[in-house]
Subunit: 412 residues, 2 copies
């Protein structure tokens, strides 16, 4: 059961002028479900993306990166092509060829070049991509292209996600209302043999290509780069930001402008909501945990400590058990590899309960207070290092029996 | 159930001339069990140790480090004082004082200085060390000091270990037979709220202090630094090497000498057997897994890749399920952070079965061969990077339901 996550209301997902979405049942993975998505973009859209850092990245990641860099400056990305059921990862040269053929098939139907199509795949690793099935499904996708199809699109990219994930915001930019809407699916390697966190966010606000690239990296750092289920990085992760420029607002070119800041609030809010929904639907998750590190010298040391806590199986099992097990959190802080960390300056809070003061158990702390916090479905861990002003936030979930069951039994 | 691990035969554990061991029931942790150990050393013994790198290290670690550095060159360590039931970690200044008082109590009974006693604690974190109970138990320990007490000592330092861990070797050094015998207990943070991997290895071979220090670091790198259960580093880890020098062999002073190499074979063999026994008795372990990385540019990159595999929850759950899930191992290699790794040069073997060739599935690989290997209790993963001659080996276990059960339910 996901933690405080519901099926999005279709009314909540506002269409983005210039983006239409069509889905089809192409029988790529499990039969009887929508598994193919085309996101069609109007001319002049700017597209930027960040991808997995895994060296074993999938063929569609390589091809999408190439298409984004090789694109003629006068041309623009016309479509995203997304399939579930097969990750096209660990598939060698044949996989590269299959990813390119898929793009070519859609390009032929849209009357554009292959380089104007970006491919994305999610599903089982090391299986060949069924190019012909994808080709057969494309006319269906194009036949039902609609601007209000975001929820259907979110459903078509699911793998073992239990719920579709979508988010939307309206933002006012210099008096003009613009829209930011996005969808995502299951985080990284939380899905056994299922590669991929995929996220696609679009806005009608006009962004220069340079700013779109800055925006996708900045939003990722405050959303998808802040989540972890089990520390495993997938081969297919991608986060794409689309700016159609169809809103009646002048192009944003200056990262220091008020307009850019206003838009980024909306983009970051949508990305963060999607990232959090991935954690809420994490495999076996029973708790949603926010880890906040404050008072560090540098953001990087705060992130390392936050991830050391988030990746500790002992911390995660303690949260599953609602056990306010102080030693495990402190030991995780201590093993983060910050060699000059003064542990006698560290304070630890569970929600608003002060648990550790100056590196030792706070005299006023009562186990019953810790237990009360730990029993909630949403918990925050806050560690203050008291040596600077840097901060970091990471969202994670607990480690439950269901995680082991799901991951041990997936292929059996 | 531990993996291929048995209770050591007392006959197999050879006494080390100059080392006597005494145990007592001091009621420090759970009642009704031996929980206090004194290891008494004859004059002139050389003692060297390596400790946890965790910044939240326990009071006994701080005190033992100080005693080893502050010791008068003419004096020698007279005793190790080890308790289970309480880790004396996260206990602040009171913890430091308690560790020192424990040493002082034993020093008074032995007629030596406090600095000649090294303290070691294992057990629950953030509870005060019961100094009086330790003091009350010490006379019992001294009353049953015996050279053939290694097995009783191994039992007295257990926490949630299911079996005592001890190993012994005889080595011939320049025609003289010397003995290496050691004991250990549960690895790192595999034990919930139980801090500590402790290991004590003694030899009667005469080593200079400088060489003893080199030897303990070298042996650790080929044993305790090669194991991981869950990646959590404890606050109390310590590995101690004792050289009593009582064997009739001349002192070994040269790291390049044949005598040193011969002795190190014995010391490393004992340390590696102890380290492996810790993994075999890992929480919830059903498989013993050897991860071997070969053909790297540097040892460090091989170690990083080995640990990326060993720490991946997805790899570990796949081994629990006996599922030869190739993608998970490749994804772990890819996320190890080796940015210039050429993934199309990588080969992967499960035991002797070639699974991946040049970064892709080997055409001759059959799933049934992988499954046959995975069903064994002992499995080796071998990854060849084909870019150099560096290697690394890491031993680990799988991630099972019992791991979650043990760690979630320990305090409830």
């Amino acid at each position: 059961m996901p933690v405080n996550l519901k099926r999005p209301d279709p009314q909540y997902l506002k269409p983005v002028n210039g983006v239409s979405l069509g889905v089809a049942q192409a029988e790529i993975g499990k039969p009887g479900r929508k598994d193919l998505l085309v996101v069609k973009l109007e001319d002049g859209s700017r597209v930027a993306a960040v991808f997995t850092q895994n060296r074993f990245c999938a063929a569609p990641v390589v091809v999408a990166r190439q298409h984004l860099t090789m694109l003629d400056p006068d041309a623009s990305i016309k479509a995203l092509l997304v399939n579930t059921g097969c990750a096209n990862a660990g598939t060698g040269k044949e996989g590269m060829s299959a990813a390119r053929q898929s793009c070519a098939q859609l390009a032929a139907l849209l009357g554009c070049s292959s380089a104007q199509v970006l491919p994305f795949s999610t599903g089982v690793i090391m299986e060949p991509l069924p190019v012909e099935k994808i080709g057969a499904g494309l006319p269906d996708c194009l036949a039902n292209l609609r601007e209000d199809n975001w929820l259907a699109a979110a459903e078509a990219i699911m793998t073992t996600d239990t719920l579709p994930k979508a988010a939307s915001r309206r933002v006012s930019i210099g008096g003009q209302t613009v829209t930011v809407t996005g969808i995502a699916k299951g985080a990284g390697m939380i899905h056994p043999n299922m590669a991929t966190m995929l996220a696609f966010v679009a806005t009608d606000a006009p962004l220069s290509l340079a700013l779109a690239r800055a925006a996708v990296a900045q939003a990722a750092n405050h959303s998808f780069n802040c989540i972890t289920v089990d520390g495993d990085t997938s081969t297919n992760d991608a986060f794409v930001l689309i700016s159609t420029g169809r809103a009646s607002a002048p192009e944003i070119r200056d990262a220091g402008s008020a307009e850019y800041q206003e838009l980024m609030q909306g983009v970051t809010a949508v990305a963060a909501e999607l990232a959090q929904s991935i954690i809420r639907d994490g495999e076996g998750a029973t708790k949603f945990i926010t880890i906040r590190i404050e008072g560090g010298r540098r953001d990087e040391e705060c992130r390392r400590i936050a991830y050391a806590i988030a990746h500790s199986p002992l911390v995660k099992t303690a949260f599953f058990a609602s056990d306010p097990n102080l030693g495990r959190i402190l030991a995780a802080v201590g093993k983060a590899g910050i060699s000059d960390l003064a542990v006698d300056k560290i304070d630890l809070y569970l929600d608003d309960v002060l648990v550790v003061k100056n590196g030792g158990r706070h005299p006023g702390y009562r186990e019953s207070d810790g237990q009360r916090v730990m029993k909630q479905p949403e918990i925050s861990i806050r560690v203050t290092l008291n040596r600077g002003s840097a901060t970091a936030t990471v969202w994670t979930c607990d480690l439950s029996h269901d995680y082991v069951t799901i991951n041990a039994e997936y292929r059996t």
